[in-house]
Symmetry: C2
Subunit: 324 residues, 2 copies
């Protein structure tokens, strides 16, 4: 690999991609970093060097071999068609395009061939899928009911900073302007991605559609409630999964234990299960609380927590890059 | 009604009961307040008077006509059998006793007769049941999958203070001793009530058992995941409900709108749904996000938020007292 570009290199996901390219000794000769025009003149640190930030143009992208797009859907939609390099897109722009593979390397790397554009999935879908995929292989998922507990940084670095600032003001008894129509400090709210006519928000639709595409089974029924919580980083999910086939708990735990990128994280004697703090900064998705659902046959309850900026975004994109 | 006693009058629930007895002009001549021995010498304010705190004894309870027990299960288990007054118990001690009615006045007041002991249900069960009960009457609940987002004050006033103190220390970059094996500031965790051999925690079992008892239908299947979030007050629940009968959304919303103590709280054009801050200090349980579950027939998704110290505990107990 010669020249690698990171588009959106100063954002929450893009800056993690740059960090991971260095940490994982990604095979590249030249790194180029792109950001919005108001970042011009600034630099990104990489392998002890200062990489100057550039602004996107067709000419600037001409000599790039591999491009990580991490600047949101509108940038991906505009610039990926202009880019002749192989592109790995962390946005939702092309995920459901039939011709674009949607990849979690531990789950469906076999789908990856010579496609020019590869999509990396939604963060909540990824945290759910890491434990779900090995179980689907064994018992075939019939229906999933999921509820999420999503972190502030999933809405960007600025929103995370707002959580801290508003919480600090709240504790000091001061008022603080909220970007939301209600407080976020010490509060939570149903996910505010656009609401569709059917009553689901887009984040929930992404979980449904991307789960089916990645597991390669359009018969899977899935419903979700997505909620933003006052937690800085790492998304949690309570999942209820009905399988087509019966299962034994030992088979479930064996499958979970042997899944790469996933860690069974619990100590039942101490009532200790994964929390967002445990998952923050870790490559693995943590899971626990596996139990047989008492309310219907062939159904499992579990709890999963993953760093949505790592496995939920930047790490997954870099892993796809390593496969390319 | 002559003499009313509040047992646990300085606790999170008991102090709300005292406040509500005054606010709702509860028909009583004498209020007596009980607390642990280390509260002796202190007072509780009621109707402009200072009520001295007393310590429980068989003699002290002898002349009480109605007793609100809000000091936890062990106190209820010890003292309710010693008390000749009519007792309303907010603890879980006797809730599942066949001879003890478990009452939410808006739902099953008909069950209330001349019983000496009446139980008030679990806070999470109550928040779920307020929207569930009117729908059950119309369409018959078959199965519920619930995920909770429970507030700090559900674990007591001291735990709430800890959330504030730990969060303040975290923002100042200071370490702070946690009563938990992980941070609570900006973190969340699966509910730490005792874990049973089947993998459910007691809070989840309470939701299952109490829902069936209050709706008077032992055929209802229910599963839950309970989670504590860094929110001071008001529990939120994401509920997925399969009914035996088909429903129309207009019928659902009409039933929700006509349920006393429940408020449909949403503005879909603004993507605005109930949050814990909206529900804090309010008598009504707030609900919204009603949508037809795309994953299976006759199934509904909704979101409910209620002040677990009011309708979830103190208000419900006082309402029962008003019926007595």
């Amino acid at each position: 690999m010669k020249t690698v570009a990171v588009i959106g290199a100063t954002g929450a996901v893009g800056s993690e991609i740059v960090r991971l390219l260095e940490k994982r000794s990604f095979p590249l000769r030249t790194l180029r970093c792109f950001a919005s025009p108001n970042s011009l003149g600034q630099h990104v640190s990489f392998r002890g060097e200062k990489i100057p930030l550039e602004v996107l143009s067709k000419e600037a992208l001409a000599n790039v071999d591999l491009a990580f797009f991490a600047a949101g859907s509108s940038v991906s939609r505009k610039w990926i068609p202009e880019c002749s390099a192989r592109c790995i897109d962390s946005s939702s722009a092309f995920r459901m395009d039939e011709k674009v593979p949607l990849i979690i390397p531990e789950i469906n790397r076999a789908v990856l061939q010579k496609q020019r554009l590869i999509a990396s999935p939604n963060c909540s879908a990824t945290v759910l899928l890491m434990p779900l995929a090995p179980l689907h292989r064994l018992f075939q998922v019939k229906r999933v009911v999921a509820a999420t507990y999503q972190a502030a940084s999933g809405a960007g670095a600025r929103f995370l900073q707002h959580l801290y600032d508003e919480t600090r003001a709240h504790l000091a008894g001061e008022s603080f302007p909220s970007p939301l129509p209600f407080p976020y400090a010490f509060n939570l709210f149903p996910h505010n991605s656009p609401l569709r006519a059917n009553g689901y928000v887009e984040e929930e639709i992404k979980m449904m559609e991307e789960t089916r595409k990645i597991l390669g089974d359009l018969s899977i029924a899935l419903t979700a409630t997505c909620v933003r919580v006052p937690v800085p980083r790492a998304h949690s999910i309570a999942a209820n999964v009905e399988f087509k086939k019966p299962f034994q708990m030992e088979e479930v735990l064996a499958a979970i234990r042997s899944m790469p990128g996933l860690q069974l994280f619990e100590d039942r004697s101490q009532n200790r299960f994964p929390t967002p703090t445990d998952a923050t900064g870790r490559d693995e998705v943590l899971c626990g609380r596996f139990r047989i659902d008492l309310s219907q046959p062939n159904t499992l309850e579990f709890w999963a927590v993953g760093d949505q900026l790592l496995k939920g975004a930047a790490l997954n994109a870099v892993q796809i890059g390593e496969l390319c």
